[in-house]
């Protein structure tokens, strides 16, 4: 078990250096096993797989989160995660604009507003 958790934690920290701790902390007192499943399954089993580079994986995740809706906190984390694994801001914006075609304009506009928030947070931290 250790092994999957360690691998997952390494991937989680690489993609989400800031958010990783907060996620695990926030689940610790109520559902620590859900935090463990995120680390072991999502980041230990799935992100650890070869066959698709991390940048493409983040693009897929952004598209899915925007399409699904009601995922703003996760979308914020994954926009940062996309930047951390090599996407530039324009690429993120392009994914979001493209979602207007597949999930409708409201989802795309909300996604852009979330990206705007994230980019401003990053710029203000500098």
């Amino acid at each position: 078990m250790e092994d999957r958790y360690s691998k997952g934690l390494k991937n989680l920290k690489k993609i989400h250096p800031e958010a990783s701790k907060a996620l695990i902390e926030s689940l610790k007192n109520i559902a620590p096993d859900l935090g463990r499943f995120v680390v072991e399954f999502a980041y230990g089993d799935v992100y650890e797989r070869g066959g698709l580079d991390l940048k493409s994986r983040q693009i897929a995740t952004l598209a899915a989160l925007i399409a699904i809706g009601d995922t703003k906190p996760e979308l914020k984390d994954h926009i940062k995660g996309a930047l951390n694994v090599g996407c530039n801001r324009q690429e993120i914006i392009e994914v979001i604009i493209q979602m207007a075609v597949y999930a409708g304009f409201p989802r795309a506009i909300n996604g852009i507003n979330t990206a705007k928030e994230v980019f401003e947070e990053i710029d203000n931290e500098k």
Copy 2:
């Protein structure tokens, strides 16, 4: 208008050499303008944009279609489209497996079954 339509048709034929005709044909007698909007807006305005390569655009589309659900015909076309712009089968499978994390296992399993159908169709045509 011509211009956007021409650009869109070029992109549509590049990504979906087989499906492009069928899509426009199927809409011709009932809602030809919807077919025109697909060509002009989706493929002429959005896919024509720079800033994100076509392979990444197809990955985003696959992720969105699987997450949304009830999109089997479009998913089949876009799995072929992903292959046509340089994704290999393993990359497509990875995108679908990853959707188990973000959209749940039923969507991922249905997506894999659709990919299986597409790959078998392609293998049988050879």
Copy 3:
């Protein structure tokens, strides 16, 4: 109770003269109360209300069914229902095309294909 059921049945028969019987029949042996709730609540309580004409109600229902997805049998019935309360084919097509903006092109294209099926069924019955 009789009263709500009678009012609902009258509305159901007005909007869906063919489908009304089939719906109630199909639920009769497994969940007759679900059929009763459709009649009493959906058609007896809601459609019976004033304040919005039946044509507008059908337009709202078509939009919702297309946006939600995975509702093909209901969409077929409500396209017929829309025709029965005064929508013409072009108006139905317009509602569906407009859904490309709010729910994405896959939902709109699927909706148009469903409308095509319904219109062909009607034309073949003549």
Copy 4:
């Protein structure tokens, strides 16, 4: 009509002793009939039925609300409702964790955060 309303109100008060009043109040000036339909149809017709105990009904409702998304106020009320009809906190957490499998991790994580809020509100009221 009186009868269904009375039965519904009894069920609503049993499951949501605090929220029941607020719900009806908040709808009173804008759409009192929607409040009446909640009481008569949801709690008078559906929850009044035998064949499934109230605890199981609340588990089904929690699962549905988490899967659907964008239902935070309703989810908060129904987490309290689940506690009121005999679910313990661990059972509620288990339902939410299980939703990671069927609706994806973002929905489950958001659900857990909502449960955390509810449990803290309850603990602070003591």
Copy 5:
């Protein structure tokens, strides 16, 4: 291109005299082309079409936004838009109540609460 944009802007200003500027402004620094697509495609191509009056188009949009969920800012704008093209408050409320049948009560209740907010904002501005 000018032409579609001009037509779209005219429609956008007619339906959303207040929100139109804010929408374009908010997208200007991050994804101005998404703003342009809203104007050109949604309001220039789709809303410009004949075959369905603007009031019916707004009813379809309200129904879709409520059914989709996680669209509160857009729903607020389109409730105002519906009022601007001739819907009265009762008609808007009726569309929302009807959504309880097709998208479930949580979506309808959230929709009513959003309508309440909009109506109060309008009344307070007087």
Copy 6:
């Protein structure tokens, strides 16, 4: 790893004695790891947990699948699964009817039609 897989397979066989083999088989040639994740994560990690009985877990799953939509094959398997862990037909029907309240009538009616198919398949096998 063996251990989670073994536990998961035991749970999977208990809940889905017929479908378990078919699921793993169908994924074997295209995405065997997705089959492994179903066994290890869904049935080995999640269903193995205490804190909620299997019958309640199946009720939650049925509710989620109906609410999500476009999950007919999974819903069929889980209706059988619910019967296998102690739900009776009436309880399953009650969960589905209740979904009319939370996810709308179309989802509930489709769910009932799926249940009908499953029950008839079971009766015909006798």
